[in-house]
């Protein structure tokens, strides 16, 4: 894996986009996470912490994209 490929994987993991496993009905891990080494995973975690702080500050209601994703999922599934 080249350093550019590794960098792309790290950044891909920082998104809040996650799918629901059709069998367990639980939130699935990002596929790129499983392709990263331990140090890459640690970097992705730290970058995500910073990114969510920025997102909360830029959102009128103080929600990060994680919060938006979760609340959006609940609202869509509401009867």
């Amino acid at each position: 894996m080249t350093s550019r490929e590794r960098e792309a994987l790290i950044e891909a993991v920082t998104t809040a986009h996650r799918t629901i496993d059709p069998f367990t009905r639980m939130v699935s891990g990002h596929p790129a996470f499983h392709d990263l080494d331990d140090e890459g995973r640690r970097i992705a975690y730290e970058r995500t912490l910073v990114t969510r702080t920025l997102e909360r500050a830029l959102d009128p209601r103080g929600l990060s994209t994680t919060g938006r994703a979760v609340v959006g999922r609940l609202r869509r599934s509401a009867p």
């Binding site: 995500t48 702080t53 999922r73």
Partner: protein, 189 residues
């Protein structure tokens, strides 16, 4: 950052009010994520946090307050920790002890809310971003976690790798700008 009792929202959450849950999530997400640092190499923390937040919504009606603040957050800290342990064991069969449970629960003693001055500084710095990094940052925020980066990149007319590079650049430029204002994002996170 200031200490708050997020249980102020609990009665409305228990009654099924998603707006109240949204306000609770705004304060609870950061302590939940920070509590999982020791799992960062073993599980996808983002997925665990999202699953934990969804379960918090479901358990909220059954929470009995005990007089201490942040009962729902404390319960959710246990939920995400147990989810992380289960996932780590499933992935690698790594034995995990209970020694960090107290450390994890210590995150319930505070709930982080964005400082108004920090928000203002981040807004100012984001306005100074070059167009392409700014568009990548805005696209992820606007998508609210509902769309794959490939979709966002395509909408912006970028290759996926270019989109990711622009997002990296946006965060770095924001961090540099904030550092110039005496704010270290690493310390805040």
């Amino acid at each position: 950052m200031s200490a708050v009792d997020l249980d102020d929202h609990l009665p409305a959450i228990a009654a099924g009010d998603p707006d109240a849950f949204e306000r609770w999530v705004a304060g609870a997400e950061h302590p939940l994520r920070a509590s999982l640092r020791s799992f960062a190499t073993r599980v996808d923390v983002e997925a665990v946090v999202q699953e934990g937040l969804l379960r918090a919504w479901n358990v909220a009606p059954r929470i009995v307050r005990d007089g201490a603040p942040n009962a729902l957050l404390r319960v959710t800290l246990r939920i995400v920790r147990n989810l992380a342990i289960d996932e780590a064991r499933r992935a690698r069969s790594v034995a995990i002890g209970d020694d960090d449970l107290d450390a994890s629960l210590s995150f319930a003693t505070f709930a982080a809310m964005p400082d108004p001055l920090l928000r203002e500084a981040i807004h100012r710095c984001s306005e100074r971003l070059p167009p392409r990094p700014r568009s990548a940052l805005d696209a992820r925020i606007a998508s609210q976690g509902a769309e794959h980066d490939r979709t966002l990149a395509s909408r912006l007319g970028m290759e996926l790798n270019t989109f990711l590079q622009n997002f990296t650049r946006a965060r770095k430029l924001l961090a540099d700008c904030l550092r110039g204002r005496g704010i270290d994002l690493g310390e805040l996170a």
